[in-house]
Amino acid sequence: MRPFGYLVPPDPAAAIAAVTGRPGATFLAGGTNLVDLMKLGVATPDLLVDVTGLLPHRIEPVPGGGLRIGAGVRNSDLAADQRVPGSGCPARAGDHRNLAILGGSPHCVATHPSDMAVALAALDAVVHVEGPAGSRALPLGELYRLPGDRPDRETTLERGDLITAVELPAPGFAARSAYRKVRDRASYAFGVALVAAALDVDSGVVRDARIALGAVAPRPWRARTAERMLAGRPATAEWFGRAADAELADAAPLPDNAFKITLVRNIVVRMLCELARGELAGAAS
C-alpha cells in the first residue's frame, strides 16, 4: 500500500496553498489522467487536493461576444452547449508511428495527444490561472511548452498554479470551422493526426485562416506559417497545399512516422477546400 492524503479545501486559495507548500501534493479534478497514472505507479502523489467543488461550473458570455468556460465544466456539458463552435465533435471524446514530427527535441519526440487543446489552440483560447503569485491570463499557445532539454515539463504552469477557466474569444469566422480526428479505429483511440481549421473567405480570396495540428508535436501546433501564407491568397487547393507544405517544411520525421507529413497535408487541404466551399461550416468528423 502506498498511502496518500486526501484534502477537500474550502476555497481555491486554500487549495493553491496546500499544493504550493508540499512537493508531493497535486490537484485532483476530473482525475481521468491522474488516477490512471496512479494505478500504474507513474504518478505517486502523497496528497490529493480535490478541487472539483471549487472550480467554476458555468459557461458564461463575456463582453465582446466570447465565452468563459469554467474549469469545472464537464466535457459532456460543454459538448452539449450549442454556443460552442464545433459542439459534439470528437475533439471532446477523449510505437513510433505515433511520435512527433514537429517541435521535438533530442530529449523528447512524444506527441501531445489532446483533442480539446488542438481545438482551443485554433480558437485562440485564453487560459485563466490562479496561483501563489495571484491571477493571470495567458494564451493557450503559452500554456504548453516544447520539451527542449526539460521534457518532464509539458506546461509553463508552476507549482500551485490552478487553471480556473478557459476563455474563447468572440466566434467571428471561427463559427465556420471544422475539426478532423484521424484514428486507427472508429472510437476510443488517440488521434494519429488531428486538425482544427477555420477559414474566412471573401470572393474566392482567403481573408484569414486558422489551422491547429495535433498528434504531430509535443504540444498543440498552431500552423502559423501556413496561416500567414494563406492570407490574401486564392482559396484554392493549390494554395492550401503550398501552405501545408510550408508548415511541414521543418518537419523532422523518423522512419516510422514520415507518413504523418502526407497525412497532415491531405487533411489540411481537404478541410480547407471543404470550408472554402462552405461544406464543412460548424461540422466535425
Binding site: M1, R2, G41, D95, R97, V182, R183, D184, R185, A186, S187, Y188, A189, V192, A193, D256, N257, A258, F259, T262, L263, N266, I267, V269, R270
Partner: protein, 707 residues
C-alpha cells in the same frame, strides 16, 4: 432461439469467475516479472519487501519449493535462475492483502547477469530449423508431384510473401486462480478451458496423483486458446498456498498476460501459386517461417490448411522455426489456419486478378473431389455451397473487378471474398447421466463454458436425447471431479461432449426402458466413454468450411479503413444451439476484422518487450468499428463425427476474414497490403511506392492513387 441458460447469473453478477470464489483467510500473490530478455538471476534481495506489514513470503529461485514435474518449463516456476524472456516470472510476493503484495513486489530487488538477446524474426535467420512436427502433431513438410517444375511452367504465377504480427488472445477475464490445499490435496478455482486436462498437468507438476488435484471452472470469461493448458498463474497460486499455508488468490495483470499466458507468434509466409490461363491451379507451395521461445517449441501449423483447400497436382508445404528470446507462443483462436489462410486466400485473390477471373469463380474451379494430398474422401465438404450462398446474399454478382474505381465522397469502396476452413475433430470424453424416481435428471461432464454457450448447448442436447424438458435436467460441468472430457478448444468441445452426453443419455433410456419405465428408489445411472468410438473413426478428411465477404471503405486522403459490411456463410455440420452459434461465428469474424486492421503486439528489439502491453495500446475493434455483420450457415450434418452431427464453430469464423478484408482494401485502393495489420500508415506509405505487384508476369498496373 434458446436463451443462454446462465445469462441471468452473468448479467446480475451471481456467476462466479475463478478469483471471485470466496476463500477464508485468503492471501494474495503479486508476481515480479524479469526485466531482462535473457540471462540469469544473480541475486534476489527480499528484505525491503518482507519488512512491509502484511507480507507473508517472497518466493524466489533461492527458496521456492522444488517441483517434481518440470516437463513443461513454462510451469517450472523458480526452478532455475535462467531467464528466457522479458516478463517471465522471476519472483513473487504473498501478502495478506492485494495492495500489500503489489507494493512489496515493487520492493523486491533482483540483480541479473544480462546476456545479449535476439527477439527479431527474419526470413533468413541462421537459427531457423525444421521441427519434428508442427502444432499439434502435424507433419512439418509435405510434397506431392513436382512443384518446382510445374510452377516454372505455369502460364500465370503468383509469388508473394505475407507477414502476420504477434497477436495476443486477451480474453476479458485474465488468467486467475484461487488455490486451496487441504490434507495433501489441492483444489483450484481456475480460469481454464479444460478442467480435466488441467488437473492432470497440475498434479504432474507437484508430483501428485491425478485424484489429488481438483480443478473447478464454473464460469470462464473467454480463453481463445490461452486457457487451454495450465499457465504459470495456477502453479504460482498453488505454490504460494503451500508456502504460506493459506488459500491464495492470484490474477495475472493485463500487461503480464503479454508474457506468460501465450500468444500467436509472428509469421513470414511465402505462397506460390501456378495456374493455367483459366485459373486452374497446377502448382501450390506454402513456406512458413515462425518463431518460438527458447523454453518450449511451439510451431504454428500455418501451411496445414493449404494441404486440403484446393486441387493441384503439384504441391509442397514447409514450416521452419527459430528459437528466440521471446515469450512462448501458444494456441490462439485457429492456430495455423488463421494466419495461414490470410496468406493463401490473399494469394488466391491475387491470382484471380492476374487471371482476370472472379475470385468466387476461381475458388469454385479449384474445388478438389478428394483431399488433394492424401486422396482421402471428405466426410462432408460444402465450400462451394457457402461461396454460392454468400455471393447471392451479399450481392456479389456483377461486381466490377477493376480496383480503385469506386468512390463516394471521400471514401473509396471495395469488396472482397475469402474461404474459411477448420478441422472437424472430436476427442474422447466421458459423461454420466442419472435419473431419480421423481424424474429429475443429472447430466455430468467436465466440460467448460468459456462464454461460448456450451452450458446452453449441452442442456438442449441432453433434453433432446432424454426426451424430457430441459427444466427436468441439472447439468453439471466445469469440475475435474466430473467425468473427464476434452477441453473447450480446437473447436472440439461440442462434438466431443455431445457425443458422450448423447451416448450416456441413450444408455440411460435403455435402462429405463428395460425396467418398463420404473426407476428404482436409488435411481439409475448410465456412463459413457467415447474413446472406442473415436478410435474407430474412418480415415477421412473432416473439415468445416465457410466463405466470408467483406465490404470496405478507405478514406482517400487519410487511408482510414472502415468495414461497413461483413457476411460469413458456414458449413459446420449441424448447428446445435443457433443463438449461441451465431454469437460464436460473429465473434470469430469480429476477431478476424481486428486481426485485419488493428491487432499487433509490437516487439521492442532493444528491451525485448511489447511496449503496447495493455488494451489502450493493443487495439482490437471497438463497437463502432463493427457495423453490419452477419453469419449464417447452410444445412449440413456431419455424418461421422458423433450423433449430434456437429463440426465445431469456435474457430472457423476467424479464418479468412482478414484475407477478405485485405482483398476488399485492394479492390478499393489498388494497394495490396501483405503485412497485417492494414493500417492507414501502410496505405499512405505504399501509395507512393512504385508498383510492387507479386503477379508474374508483372501486370504493370498503376498503383498510384490519390492518397
Amino acid at each position: 432461439m434458446t436463451a443462454r441458460v446462465d445469462g441471468p447469473d452473468k448479467v446480475t453478477g451471481r456467476a462466479r469467475y475463478a478469483v471471485e470464489h470466496p476463500a477464508d483467510g485468503a492471501a494474495y500473490v503479486w508476481a515480479v516479472p524479469s526485466v531482462i530478455a535473457r540471462g540469469t538471476i544473480r541475486s534476489v534481495d527480499a528484505s525491503r519487501a518482507l519488512a512491509l506489514p502484511g507480507v507473508l513470503a517472497v518466493i524466489t529461485p533461492d527458496n521456492a519449493p522444488r517441483l517434481p514435474g518440470t516437463g513443461d518449463p513454462e510451469l517450472a516456476l523458480f526452478q532455475t535462475r535462467a531467464v528466457a524472456y522479458r516478463g517471465q516470472f522471476a519472483a513473487a510476493v504473498v501478502a495478506g492483502t492485494l495492495e500489500a503484495a503489489r507494493e512489496a513486489a515493487g520492493r523486491v530487488v533482483i540483480e541479473y547477469e544480462q546476456a545479449a538477446h535476439d527477439v527479431t524474426l527474419t526470413a533468413s535467420h541462421p537459427g531457423l530449423y525444421k521441427p519434428d512436427f508442427v502444432n499439434p502433431r502435424y507433419e512439418t513438410d509435405t510434397a506431392v508431384g513436382d512443384f518446382d517444375g510445374a510452377f516454372a511452367a505455369a502460364a500465370v504465377r503468383v509469388d508473394a510473401t505475407y507477414r502476420t504480427p504477434a497477436e495476443h488472445n486477451h480474453p476479458m477475464e485474465p488468467h486467475a486462480t484461487v488455490a486451496v490445499w487441504h490434507a495433501g490435496t489441492l483444489t483450484v478455482y481456475d480460469a481454464t478451458q479444460g478442467p480435466s486436462r488441467a488437473a492432470g498437468q497440475i498434479a504432474a507438476v507437484f508430483g501428485l496423483e491425478p485424484g489429488q488435484v481438483r480443478v473447478i471452472a464454473e464460469h470462464v470469461g473467454g480463453g481463445f486458446g490461452a486457457k487451454g493448458m495450465p499457465r504459470a498463474n495456477v502453479i504460482l497460486a498453488a505454490m504460494a498456498a503451500r508456502v504460506t499455508g493459506r488459500p491464495v488468490k492470484f490474477a495475472v495483470t493485463r500487461p503480464q498476460m503479454f508474457a506468460v499466458t501465450g500468444h500467436r507468434a509472428p509469421s513470414i509466409q511465402r505462397v506460390r501459386l501456378g495456374a493455367g490461363p483459366d485459373g486452374r491451379l497446377t502448382a501450390v507451395c506454402h513456406d512458413v517461417i515462425d518463431q518460438t521461445s527458447t523454453l518450449k517449441e511451439f510451431t504454428e501449423q500455418s501451411a496445414v490448411a493449404t494441404r486440403h483447400m484446393y486441387a493441384a497436382p503439384h504441391r509442397r508445404t514447409t514450416h521452419r522455426v527459430v528459437r528466440l528470446d521471446v515469450p512462448t507462443p501458444s494456441w490462439m483462436r485457429a492456430p495455423g489456419e488463421c494466419p495461414g489462410m490470410f496468406a493463401l486466400e490473399s494469394a488466391m485473390d491475387e491470382l484471380a486478378a492476374a487471371c482476370g477471373i472472379d475470385p468466387v469463380e476461381l475458388r469454385l474451379r479449384n474445388e478438389p473431389a478428394v483431399h488433394p494430398e492424401t486422396g482421402q474422401p471428405f466426410s462432408s465438404r460444402h465450400l462451394a455451397a457457402c461461396l454460392r450462398e454468400g455471393a447471392a446474399r451479399f450481392g456479389w454478382a456483377g461486381r466490377d473487378p477493376a480496383p480503385g474505381v469506386r468512390r463516394e465522397g471521400r471514401w473509396l469502396a471495395g469488396t472482397g471474398v475469402a474461404a474459411s476452413t477448420y478441422p472437424a475433430r472430436a476427442m474422447p470424453s466421458q459423461a454420466r447421466v442419472t435419473v431419480s424416481p421423481s424424474g429429475r435428471y443429472q447430466v455430468s461432464i467436465a466440460a467448460a463454458d468459456i462464454g461460448t454457450g456450451a452450458r446452453t448447448a449441452l442442456l438442449a442436447v441432453a433434453a433432446e436425447a432424454l426426451g424430457v424438458p430441459a427444466a427436468a435436467i441439472d447439468l453439471r460441468i466445469g469440475d475435474s471431479a466430473l467425468p473427464p472430457a476434452m477441453i473447450a478448444g480446437g473447436s472440439m468441445g461440442t462434438a466431443s461432449w455431445t457425443w458422450a452426453v448423447i451416448k450416456a443419455c441413450g444408455a440411460l433410456r435403455d435402462q429405463v426402458r428395460a425396467r418398463d419405465g420404473a426407476v428404482p428408489p436409488g435411481g439409475l445411472t448410465a456412463y459413457a466413454d467415447t474413446a472406442a468410438d473415436i478410435g474407430a473413426l474412418p480415415a477421412h478428411a473432416r473439415y468445416a468450411f465457410g466463405a466470408q465477404f467483406a465490404e470496405v471503405q478507405v478514406d482517400a486522403d487519410t487511408g482510414e479503413v472502415r468495414v461497413p459490411r461483413l457476411l460469413g456463410v458456414f458449413a459446420a455440420g449441424r448447428i446445435v444451439s443457433p443463438a449461441q452459434a451465431r454469437s460464436q461465428l460473429i465473434g470469430g469474424m469480429t476477431m478476424g476484422q481486428s486481426m485485419a486492421l488493428h491487432e499487433e503486439s509490437a516487439m521492442d528489439p532493444q528491451f525485448g518487450d511489447y511496449p503496447n502491453h495493455d488494451l489502450a495500446g493493443y487495439h482490437i475493434a471497438a463497437h463502432a468499428d463493427v457495423q453490419d455483420i452477419d453469419a449464417v450457415w447452410i444445412d449440413e450434418k456431419e455424418p461421422e463425427l458423433g450423433p449430434a452431427g456437429a463440426k465445431g464453430i469456435g474457430e472457423v469464423g476467424i479464418v479468412g476474414t482478414a484475407a477478405a478484408i485485405a482483398g476488399a482494401v485492394c479492390h478499393a485502393t489498388r494497394i495490396r497490403v501483405r503485412d497485417l495489420p492494414i493500417r492507414l500508415d501502410k496505405l499512405l506509405r505504399q501509395s507512393h511506392d512504385p508498383d510492387d505487384s507479386a503477379v508474374h508476369p508483372a501486370a504493370g498496373r498503376d498503383r498510384q492513387i490519390r492518397l
